[in-house]
């Protein structure tokens, strides 16, 4: 049962496929769906997605996390930019999202399912792959716009990784999917405590981490001065924008 996307281009592009399509229960409905544009979501959704991506990509570049050296520097515990960016985002987002809910706004959550073995093994593979690639999926895409040529190969690898996983999802889930399967839970759900205890814990944790990093951490990634030094191609700030003052 081929889906909408292939119905038009692939069948006509490759000679052996029409015969295949005839064997399969492919029908006019499919072609109609292809024609009606099931490839794309509605324009409003797409515009909102593009705007979000533009802002996200902009911020990632300004933060320096589109650079290989900054990401690998984090894993080598030399440059804590990544941790600072992520923890700050989590603190602001947690207070903001749960705060909006507390004042009665309709803000649905999007909690991903907990399956301890899947989350844990997946996380281990992810970290190892990220250390080699030098990017995560979002920063890898953004790095393409920030002059990184090798990020293109990381992105191709990501696509391949999705393909490999799609083939192995069933056996992987069959083997370890049920280990520690708790469903879509937050710390409030599993403990019965108010979510605000955990928001508070994250705020305190972040404050301690940041205070420690600013006091004792490596003097890198601590702001505009730190990461600039890692960029040999960076022009002096004065030369960058003489016209704006």
């Amino acid at each position: 049962m081929p889906d909408a996307l292939l119905a038009t281009p692939a069948v006509s592009a490759t000679p052996h496929l029409p015969a295949l399509a005839e064997i399969l229960p492919m029908n006019d409905l499919l072609l109609a769906q292809a024609a009606s544009g099931s490839l794309f979501a509605d324009p409003k959704t797409l515009v909102l997605g593009v705007l979000t991506g533009l802002v996200f990509g902009f911020l990632l570049q300004k933060g320096g996390v589109t650079r290989y050296g900054v990401i690998v520097g984090q894993f080598l515990l030399r440059d804590f930019t990544v941790l600072k960016v992520m923890l700050t985002a989590v603190v602001v987002g947690a207070v903001g999202v749960y705060g909006m809910r507390a004042v009665g706004m309709d803000v649905p959550l999007h909690v991903k399912g907990t399956a301890v073995a899947m989350n844990l093994i997946g996380g281990v593979l992810f970290g190892a792959g990220m250390a080699v690639a030098g990017y995560c999926p979002g920063t890898g895409m953004a790095a393409l716009g920030d002059g990184s040529r090798h990020a293109a190969f990381a992105v191709l690898g990501m696509l391949a990784g999705a393909g490999v996983y799609a083939e192995l999802d069933a056996p992987v889930k069959g083997a370890v999917g049920s280990v520690g399967d708790l469903g879509k839970v937050t710390f409030a759900d599993v403990t019965g405590l108010s979510i605000w205890w955990f928001v508070l814990a994250v705020v305190v944790l972040a404050a301690c981490v940041f205070a420690a990093l600013e006091s004792f951490g490596p003097k890198r990634g601590g702001g505009s001065g730190g990461t600039t030094a890692t960029d040999p191609a960076a022009p002096a700030p004065k030369a960058a924008a003489p016209s704006t003052t």
Partner: protein, 185 residues
């Protein structure tokens, strides 16, 4: 010095983090979405595979979960896909406004340890990306979907992922570069 922040080369990581946190608030409250990127790799690969092996993709439950079935297809290019495509554009605008003319084929840190070969670096980047997204799909998200969106919701899955990812990344980086390489990071 430029007074226009858009033209500043780097922003404080705290400012950038706060910006991403605010962006998350906006997507949660007004778009009904959480920031994420790695699901898009499944949609993109599934859609590409479907061009050459339609019956294979249609028979794969994992692809069908995201792309739908022949009877009920789901859009390939949806909110997150559009977001992912816009990421390099946003980064490009930021880089140019900041005066960056940065181009990198083989990172300095990598070249110091593994030599200047582009082929080796490109192959490693490919392999790293492959293992990384395999892990992301197994865990159910990546640094944005789990790390930021899940982290801020205090989801148990996301904090397990984040701890595992960070520990593994540190271990892998030290194995790759060692103490000597670290000195140049």
């Amino acid at each position: 010095m430029s007074t226009n922040p858009l033209r500043t080369f780097r922003w404080s990581p705290y400012l950038v983090g706060a910006g991403i946190g605010l962006l998350s608030m906006v997507t949660f409250a007004f778009m009904g979405k959480a920031l994420g990127t790695s699901t898009t790799t499944v949609r993109a690969t599934g859609a590409l595979e479907r061009l050459v092996a339609p019956e294979h993709v249609a028979a794969n439950d994992y692809f069908c979960k995201y792309l739908g079935t022949a009877e009920a297809p789901k859009p390939v290019i949806e909110w997150q896909f559009a977001l992912v495509l816009a990421l390099p554009v946003g980064a490009f605008i930021a880089a140019r406004l900041g005066g960056s003319r940065f181009v990198e084929h083989v990172p300095e840190l990598w070249a110091r340890r593994f030599g200047p070969s582009r082929a080796l670096r490109y192959g490693a980047a490919f392999l790293g990306g492959l293992v990384m997204v395999f892990g992301a799909r197994m865990a159910g998200g990546c640094t944005s979907g789990h790390g930021i969106s899940g982290g801020l919701q205090l989801a148990v899955s996301s904090w397990i992922f984040f701890a595992a990812m960070f520990a593994s990344g540190v271990g892998a980086a030290f194995l790759l570069f060692g103490r000597e390489g670290r000195r140049h990071a």
